[in-house]
């Protein structure tokens, strides 16, 4: 039962990562268009999501799915948080903006936290990969 729940959380975190990534990129493109800035402004949004996506795809192909249930559940929760923030920025009509469709101030206020969550998860997932690799080396030796 726990293995099944773990698998569900493992795939849910990837799904929510993709949703959060697409909405965050959409907001970044809209902001780039609104402020007439160049494509380089999107990089700080793109990089942490991309690194996490690579790490999770790495896990999928290297069959290291026996992740800790705690780590999978927490990662899912953090991507749900980022999804809630990005969905509210784009779709919540009550977050009003005077000169554009999206209130970029609302997203900017929480962008720091989103980045902190993403970079903490990168650190956590890299640590987890190292730990799992050492565990496998110990089992085989």
């Amino acid at each position: 039962m726990l293995k099944f729940i773990n698998k569900v959380f493992f795939y849910l975190k990837i799904i929510f990562l993709l949703i959060a990534f697409s909405f965050a990129l959409y907001i970044a493109f809209m902001k780039m268009d609104f402020t007439s800035s160049n494509m380089l402004t999107i990089l700080p949004v793109f990089i942490p999501f991309f690194i996490l996506l690579i790490l999770f795809v790495f896990d999928l192909f290297l069959d290291w799915k026996d992740y800790n249930l705690y780590c999978n559940a927490v990662s899912t929760l953090s991507f749900i948080t980022i999804t809630i923030i990005t969905l509210r920025t784009v779709f919540d009509k009550n977050i009003v903006a005077s000169s554009s469709l999206i209130n970029f101030g609302f997203y900017d206020m929480q962008e720091g936290i989103i980045k902190a969550l993403l970079y903490l998860m990168i650190i956590g997932n890299i640590g987890l990969l190292i730990y799992q690799k050492r565990k496998k080396v110990k089992i085989h030796s």
């Binding site: 927490v74 009550n94 009003v96 903006a97 609302f106 969550l117 903490l120 987890l128 730990y131 050492r134």
Partner: protein
């Protein structure tokens, strides 16, 4: 560099994910609270005296406009159309108004009623200094409300109280009512 012991590595991973959990939970909770605060609605009552008076003023203006056929009449008619057709009556005929509806009403008041009607049409027709002062006060109210709505959208940590939306609605309705009083006084002068 000394290799980090497996046990320490496991603890570091637990602490990192623990931090992620705490931060995520906190932001989920405050976003939910903020969403609930902004989702409040205000009930529009047909028995609301300001709303009744506003509708009466508009119908008085409509009756009196029949006596004007010159350029003054055209300007006054344009103003009346803006007051009636901008969705104001449509919005005010709903039984409930959301935060977004109030923002739209105030935005319409600032951009269409004040900027188009007063500045372009009515200011030249006005001889009464009191009307000028009243409209200036309405501009200040409207600007305050605009900043207030945008600040509430951005403020996650202070809750938007139940009385606030009612006060904002009354302020917007009084702005429209006061402007209709100004329009009526210009017609009657």
């Amino acid at each position: 560099m000394k290799r980090v012991n497996d046990e320490y590595l496991k603890k570091i991973i637990c602490v990192v994910f623990g931090l992620v959990f705490v931060i995520s939970m906190y932001f989920v909770i405050i976003n939910i609270r903020h969403y609930e605060a902004l989702s409040q609605k205000v009930t529009v009552s047909d028995a609301d005296t300001s709303y009744i008076k506003f509708k009466e003023n508009i119908s008085h203006v409509e009756n009196k406009l029949n006596h004007y056929s010159d350029s003054k009449g055209t300007s006054l008619q344009r103003t009346l159309n803006v007051l009636k057709n901008g969705g104001v009556f449509h919005l005010l005929s709903h039984t409930e108004l959301s935060y977004y509806d109030l923002y739209k009403l105030n935005d319409y008041f600032m951009n269409n009623v004040i900027n188009d009607c007063w500045v372009s049409n009515l200011k030249g027709l006005n001889n009464n200094k009191t009307n000028d002062q009243l409209v200036n006060a309405l501009i200040n109210n409207s600007t305050y409300l605009d900043n207030h709505f945008i600040n509430n959208s951005l403020t996650l940590y202070d809750s938007y109280s139940e009385n606030s939306i009612q006060n904002d609605y009354e302020m917007i309705l009084n702005n429209y009512l006061s402007f209709s009083d100004v329009l009526l006084s210009i017609i009657e002068s």
